[in-house]
Symmetry: C2
Subunit: 168 residues, 2 copies
Amino acid sequence: MNTNSPVQQIIKQVISSWVGQSKVVTDLFTLYEDNHYQNEVAPGRNRGVYLLGHLISASDGMIPLLGFGERLYPEFVQLFSSNPDRSFELPSVEELKEKWTNLNKLLSDNFDKMQAEDWLDRHTNVSPEDFAVQPERNKLSILLGRTNHISYHSGQLIFLKKKEVLPL
Amino acid sequence: MNTNSPVQQIIKQVISSWVGQSKVVTDLFTLYEDNHYQNEVAPGRNRGVYLLGHLISASDGMIPLLGFGERLYPEFVQLFSSNPDRSFELPSVEELKEKWTNLNKLLSDNFDKMQAEDWLDRHTNVSPEDFAVQPERNKLSILLGRTNHISYHSGQLIFLKKKEVLPL
């Protein structure tokens, strides 16, 4: 039975969409030995390991934007959001996978504590004045955007799948 | 000023997320001459033209699922959702771009006519009995899923961008 209010039901589904897309990435990184993710997703493109760091940095950015606290891995902003692949020494795949897991756990725990209506509040990167005329700049917009961002890079990471099963 | 109810505000944003992701694809297909989209997004992967057909088929599928009517291009299911690239003769890029535009217009027009609460109704592929215990199998879930699907393939189509600007 549906015991959720419409707002609760919708928010639950938007969160579930984010959880699902994050899990696609988690699952992709459990398929092969760590070494495999040192490959480029396509010739001349980013390596799997770099894209995982990039996704960690993007998800980590939700912590301050949604008012949960400070980033867990602030050093990743410079590395994975400002610099291209191969311009610095990357952490190991093992380390990145652990950070990705920790981060998703922290985010999920915080999402669980939010009321559905909290998602309609402004995120921390918009002023109350701007928010008054742009109500769409709320916390929900961050989650929707980051979910699409994960899907976007999943479409690239899938190219690391070996060809026994040809992905779309 | 925000004059929307919470449900209206959230639905508006979810639709806007779909519109934005569809537009990423539209914009990518305006960058170069049609011939460029005959290229594979990466060696041995699908061609741009195939992925556009695939995305048309996926978006077209929303018409019956959301109760708007019949698919505009039913022949695309077999072509672009059941068969891999290079197994059949593809429509031209010009034709596909026109179909993509028509389809997005029809979908947007129908979205505009919906009440926010309509998105919480079951989609046509779930029975009333199943929906009673799985309220998340509503129309909104279709839109969220298709939006992620567009983002996923956008992450691949971006590889068709010439290297003057290196995409992430």
